[in-house]
């Protein structure tokens, strides 16, 4: 069982709630804008505390309101591609990519800088500051940063939203490899039915 | 370790000269710290490791003594000063200062610069003198209360005030002002500067104190316009 999730959280006037279990593979989370997909990802990552429920990933309990378990985000070993990139503005692209990699134990690293740079096409960007990147370039760096952190679980919030078709294809191929060869549980948000179709092992609808 | 002397800022030149003379007599030159008498008195009262205190003001020395910080029998009022009326150089007529002298008329709508008459010693003496001479009520509203005698002196020297009241020693050293009159000695309490050895003061400090109040020491101060007694 890769995900066993039951969450409830109040945000302003809205109540975000979701319960699902998913087997190994890539779980696509879909739903209309504002349904609460990003909020769920934040709760799984440990950045937002649920009001009630539990989060179990790959058998490990990361959060359990009843049992008062709440593993710190940095110990959840989750790679998160944020919807809005969130690159560190004071670090060059290379340092952004290596931020998590440097913190990971040697044994946990399942991909290297060179490979990431190659399939994301980041070669010429390594010495640039994030603010000078185009929208798609920033998104690719964010994907690379999450992959390089040696995570055991991936959360991806519309990672391909503003990328062109050929680049998408290359990245999808890598995600498939992570899903099939490394067998990492992946929680994936997308609005693109074709993407959901191709990548998803299962679908969870929200809202 | 040389003695540490806390002294009123207005004694800066004269006391430094006295310390040099002392050093010339093959003594270690005392360390001199100049500041407002009030600040120094509070430091003494806080128990700082100083040896001698020279105040421009008997009241602060009284306070220090009351708090038990003065070595008994060492307090001597050894310097005197005079109070003068000054005007910017080249302006203002000479005035004979006596009962009801026409200071208010001379001021017109100008200001009279003096040190704060409620707080600073020079101001207190000035107010006492003007009151005794019966002119205080007429000029009180025109008084500019400067932070110190030096500041009052500067106001007159800059021409911001047509008249000012300062010590004779200050007026003497500033070329921008001239003395237009001297206040009669009886018009205000005697202006005297006390020195005392502080509790825990060293033997060398006591020797320096004795030098200051000796004829040789007093002669140095007279060079700077002080009277001695």
């Amino acid at each position: 069982m890769s995900f066993d999730i039951a969450l409830r959280r109040r945000l302003g006037a809205r109540d975000i709630a979701l319960t699902f279990k998913a087997d190994d593979g890539l779980t696509v989370l879909f739903g209309p804008s504002g349904a609460g997909k990003t909020s769920v990802l934040n709760m799984v990552a440990g950045l937002l505390t649920p009001d009630a429920g539990h989060v179990r990933v790959g058998g490990a309990t990361l959060f359990d309101a009843a049992a008062r378990v709440d593993v710190a985000p940095e110990r959840r070993r989750i790679g998160y591609v944020f919807q809005d990139g969130r690159l560190f503005p004071h670090l060059r692209v290379r340092a952004n990519l290596l931020y998590g990699w440097r913190l990971a134990a040697e044994a946990d690293r399942w991909i290297g800088l060179d490979e990431v740079v190659a399939f994301l096409g980041l070669g010429e960007l390594l010495d640039r500051w994030p603010r000078s990147l185009s929208g798609g370039e920033a998104q690719r760096v964010a994907i690379g940063r999450a992959l390089l952190s040696g995570a055991r679980t991936l959360l991806m919030d519309e990672p391909l939203a503003s990328l062109d078709a050929s680049r998408r294809g290359e990245i999808i191929a890598v995600i498939e490899r992570v899903r099939d060869d490394l067998k990492l549980p992946i929680l994936y948000v997308t609005h693109d039915p074709a993407e959901a179709e191709r990548l998803g092992t299962q679908l969870v609808a929200m809202g | 370790k040389p003695p540490l002397v806390l002294a009123a800022a207005s004694l800066q030149e004269s006391l430094s000269a006295a310390a040099n003379a002392w050093a010339a007599r093959r003594h270690e030159r005392p360390v001199l710290s100049f500041a407002a008498s009030s600040a120094l008195a509070r430091q003494v009262e806080a128990g700082v490791p100083a040896d001698l205190f020279v105040s421009a003001d008997e009241a602060w020395m009284d306070d220090v003594q009351r708090k038990g910080m003065v070595r008994a029998g060492t307090r001597v009022s050894f310097l005197r000063n005079q109070l003068v009326l000054i005007a910017p150089a080249g302006r203002g007529a000479r005035m004979t200062i006596g009962r009801g002298f026409p200071l208010a008329r001379a001021l017109g709508n100008g200001r009279l610069a003096m040190a704060d008459p409620d707080a600073v010693p020079a101001g207190r003496y000035g107010k006492a003198a003007l009151t005794a001479l019966g002119v205080w009520p007429a000029v009180a509203g025109r008084v500019v209360r400067a932070e110190s005698v030096r500041a009052a002196l500067a106001l007159v020297a800059r021409g911001e005030a047509p008249y000012g009241i300062v010590y004779a020693t200050d007026a003497r050293a500033e070329r921008g002002v001239r003395v237009v009159g001297t206040f009669p000695v009886g018009s205000h309490p005697a202006i005297t500067y006390p020195v005392a050895l502080l509790k825990g003061g060293s033997a060398e400090a006591e020797r320096f104190r004795r030098f200051l109040i000796s004829p040789a020491g007093k002669a140095i101060f007279r060079r700077y316009g002080f009277g001695t007694r």
């Binding site: 940095e74 969130r86 931020y99 000078s132 | 800022a9 710290s33 509070r42």
Partner: protein, 231 residues
């Protein structure tokens, strides 16, 4: 150009301000962080106490320091008993006065920058495996560096100019507590001595001008190339 005595005064002023900044900066940062992020009862009180040296006339601050650090004061007595040191009439005391007077300026500037840090970036660092401390050191701290620098410039300038609290607290002792402003005060006490006053004031100005230029250069180096946006 400068007399040896003037050199000594400049060196002392630099030492006093330098030590004051080195010690005060971490304290100011800690307070700024607490005030920006902390939610605890008494927060306003801490804020108010930090501002006190700004509000009170420096002479009063100096007097309070004298009462606290004097031989009979609570801090001074303890320092004496525990370590046998006394800061009174020492350059260390001057550094304490300079640091205290600079503190509110530094706290405000740094706090402004910490308030402006995008906390979602800290969250991102956490997911990448950085613990709270590492996140602080690698994300929060660098992001509020402009404020730290601004605080340092303000604080240094303020401490170079500090007079009232210093002379009240540690007096005017040549070579020990006679910093530039106190030397200027002394020069001002001697009528007709304006030349010396201007020389010393010019020195103060030159000193902080140098500090200012260095800080601008540091700030520029850090910022301009990162900005990058051409809109």
């Amino acid at each position: 150009m400068l007399t040896p005595e003037e050199w000594a005064i400049v060196a002392l002023s630099l030492r006093v301000s330098g030590v004051a900044m080195a010690v005060t900066l971490p304290v100011a940062f800690g307070l700024a962080y607490l005030l920006s992020r902390g939610r605890f009862p008494g927060r306003s009180l801490v804020d108010a106490v930090v501002h006190l040296p700004l509000v009170l006339p420096p002479v009063v601050t100096g007097w309070l320091l004298l009462l606290a650090f004097g031989r009979n004061g609570p801090v001074g007595g303890w320092l004496e008993a525990a370590f046998g040191v006394s800061v009174i009439f020492r350059w260390t005391g001057a550094a304490i006065a300079a640091g205290i007077m600079a503190l509110p300026l530094m706290v405000r500037a740094i706090r402004l920058s910490i308030d402006a840090v995008d906390r979602r970036l800290e969250g991102a660092a956490r997911t990448l495996g950085a613990g709270p401390w590492r996140t602080f050191a690698t994300i929060t701290l660098p992001l509020c560096l402009p404020g730290v620098l601004a605080g340092l410039v303000l604080g240094f300038a303020r401490s170079i100019g500090e007079f009232g609290a210093t002379i009240t607290f540690v007096s005017n002792i040549p070579g020990e507590t006679r910093t530039l402003p106190i030397a200027i005060y002394s020069a001002l006490q001697i009528p007709g001595n304006d030349d010396a006053v201007w020389r010393l004031a010019g020195l103060s100005v030159a000193l902080s001008l140098a500090a200012l230029v260095v800080s601008e250069w540091l700030a520029r180096r850090g910022q301009d190339d990162r900005a990058g946006h051409v809109l």
